[in-house]
């Protein structure tokens, strides 16, 4: 019996278990992301949270929502994009948390939720990268978070409190979108099996 074949055969159940575990995590975090968004809009006051509220989308260098063409990409590429987005989100969530500490100091629960969301994004991103590595598809190099921290430029205008509220809404929304997208991509891997 070929020992290499043996080890790869014995490796598969572990990988499948890891994929399932990561998928379950993504599914759980999808619920938490919805709760975070609800909590966030409640603290900002109307019109945040009102039906049809659609503020201008601010540009976050290196991070946007999943593109419409995302679903058409190969699975490994989709998971790479998922991991990259999840890697960029913690810093943004931390920044939103710091700002909310000033804006809504009597809402420690929101601050805790933002802190937990950053940890969750980090954990899910790391788990997806582990799956990618096990599948032989390494994640890309330094992600958007790293490029953002090295770029130093001043904003065109001083940020206002309203635009800060909008930005926080966008970040919480992106967190939910990417966690949801990751869950969808992983479910394909769970049901399709490891090729």
């Amino acid at each position: 019996m070929d020992p290499q074949a043996d080890s790869s055969i014995s490796f598969l159940p572990h990988l499948e278990a890891k994929i399932r575990q990561t998928h379950n995590l993504a599914r759980l975090l999808t619920k938490y992301a919805e709760q975070l968004l609800e909590e966030y809009v409640q603290q900002q006051g109307d019109p945040f949270g009102m039906p049809g509220f659609s503020p201008p989308r601010l540009s976050l260098a290196g991070l946007s929502g999943p593109s419409p063409s995302h679903a058409g990409l190969p699975l490994s590429e989709r998971l790479r994009l998922d991991a990259a987005a999840l890697g960029a989100l913690p810093a943004l969530l931390d920044a939103v948390r710091r700002h909310q500490a000033e804006l809504n100091p009597r809402s420690p629960r929101l601050q805790r939720s933002l802190e937990e969301a950053a940890r969750q994004a980090r954990a899910l991103g790391a788990a997806v990268e582990t799956v990618l590595a096990a599948l032989g598809s390494a994640a890309r190099g330094p992600g958007p978070e790293h490029s953002a921290t090295t770029a130093l430029s001043t904003a065109n205008s001083a940020a206002s409190i309203f635009s800060a509220k909008v930005l926080g809404l966008q970040v919480c929304g992106l967190y939910g979108e990417w966690v949801n997208r990751t869950e969808g991509d992983l479910s394909q891997l769970v049901h399709g099996g490891v090729a």
């Binding site: 260098a61 809504n104 809402s107």
Partner: protein
């Protein structure tokens, strides 16, 4: 373009808010791009940005559009405040690209993050926003009270001024310093025993007064409380007495014995402890308090109902510590301890008092004499098994019998200590 003008009183009271850019890390500053308007072709700016205003004052604001498309105009723009569209008569066109708004007699902000004033395009899309902070400057905090747990720390509580926290977030800072020397210190551990409290955990001096005060600050100004002067030794409290035990007194159906230990944290210090006991029937919420328990660690509750479960708690006041003349501060009550009185045919009395190892209140002096007699008997009559326990057993027997007591005296013999059938009675009874 004209800026919004707050009421005259606000101008001197108002503190300029911190620039928001200082709250953002370089990470976020460098990722913010130019907002893309919902209409896709033009954006706008509201002035003033994030103003702070007094309740009842007026605001004049403008929404100025920057058009990429030639002919971009302010016509058709409208305002909302906290999601509600403002009446059109409150706004007017200043020029082709600027819509002005006049709000009078402003109410206090609905949320601590500021009221959301938004400028909309004709199609409802959001062009710009500004957050209004409308409130009142803080009032003087008052009613500061402090206590020290076992002389190791100091916790203070205060009452905020009437409107201080209602509309604008108000920051409270507890300050303290030694009265005769030293610098101002700021307490750091807040909300320990409620929203307006702070805990100083260590490095406190004794035998010298502190000055303590509270500073309240919000976007519209600050206020300072009166100064409280105290010596830590005058505000000492301690832990509840540990190891509270409640037990029956033989077969006596109207009594319970309560014992406890003095708080160990202060056992090495000179003080005269006072204790209080409270007790209640199991299914009642009314506590009865026994006040006159001074400096002893046991007590007997009498006059209780037979066959009834009682909850008992004890607390301690370490007054007079190191010679302090102040009244001292009661500890928290100990955890409730329960016990039941023995059941009896006869209904017992409703109330009760605490007796230091006594029976009915009227027999206090009798009981003391009995104690002395029993002590003498033990020495001279070789009856080492005589005890109060036997006396209480006799009382229980007497209560059960319902008859004129026939008293049997036995001379020259001593009863067994356990379950004796023949009992020795003190002569003087």
């Amino acid at each position: 373009m004209p800026a919004g003008r707050p009421g005259p009183a606000a101008q001197s009271a108002r503190r300029p808010p911190r620039p928001l850019s200082s709250l953002w890390s370089p990470l976020l500053l460098c990722v913010l791009g130019v907002p893309r308007g919902g209409s896709g072709t033009h954006t706008a700016v509201i002035s003033p940005q994030d103003p702070t205003l007094l309740i009842g004052s007026s605001l004049q604001a403008t929404c100025s559009i920057h058009g990429d498309t030639p002919g971009a105009t302010a016509e058709g723009l409208y305002w909302t405040l906290n999601g509600r569209r403002l009446p059109s008569e409150l706004s007017h066109l200043l020029n082709t690209s600027t819509l002005a708004l006049a709000l009078a007699n402003l109410n206090g902000s609905r949320q601590q993050s500021g009221d959301n004033l938004v400028c909309h395009a004709r199609d409802g899309s959001i062009l710009a926003g500004s957050c209004l902070y409308v409130g009142l400057p803080p009032e003087k905090p008052f009613n500061i009270s402090c206590w020290s747990r076992n002389m190791k720390d100091l916790t203070c509580r205060w009452t905020p001024g009437a409107h201080g926290d209602t509309f604008l977030h108000t920051n409270y800072s507890l300050k303290y310093k030694l009265r005769w020397y030293g610098q101002d210190n700021t307490c750091e551990d807040y909300h320990t025993v409620g929203p307006h409290s702070c805990h100083i955990p260590k490095d406190l001096a004794l035998f010298t007064p502190y000055e303590i005060w509270v500073e309240a600050t919000n976007r519209l100004g600050s206020a300072r409380s009166d100064v409280l002067t105290l010596d830590v030794l005058d505000v000492v409290t301690t832990d509840p007495p540990p190891d509270v035990h409640v037990s029956r007194v033989g077969g006596l159906e109207d009594q319970l014995s309560v014992r406890w230990v003095s708080p160990p944290a202060l056992k090495d210090f000179l003080f005269q402890a006072k204790y209080q006991i409270r007790y209640r029937v199991e299914d009642s919420v009314d506590w009865k308090v026994v006040d006159d328990v001074s400096n002893q660690t046991s007590c007997r509750l009498a006059g209780l109902k037979p066959g009834t479960v009682y909850f008992v708690q004890v607390r301690c006041n370490p007054f007079g510590i190191y010679g302090s003349k102040k009244a001292g501060i009661w500890s928290e009550w100990s955890h409730p301890t329960a016990a039941s009185t023995p059941r009896s045919e006869r209904p017992g009395p409703g109330g009760g008092v605490c007796e230091p190892r006594g029976g009915e209140p009227s027999s206090g002096p009798v009981r003391r004499e009995l104690k002395q007699f029993l002590g003498w008997l033990k020495k001279h009559a070789y009856c080492s098994n005589l005890s109060f326990r036997l006396y209480d057993q006799w009382r229980a027997w007497m209560q059960k019998s319902h008859k004129t007591r026939n008293q049997h005296r036995t001379r020259g013999s001593c009863p067994r200590a356990d379950g004796a059938r023949r009992e020795v009675l003190p002569d003087k009874l």
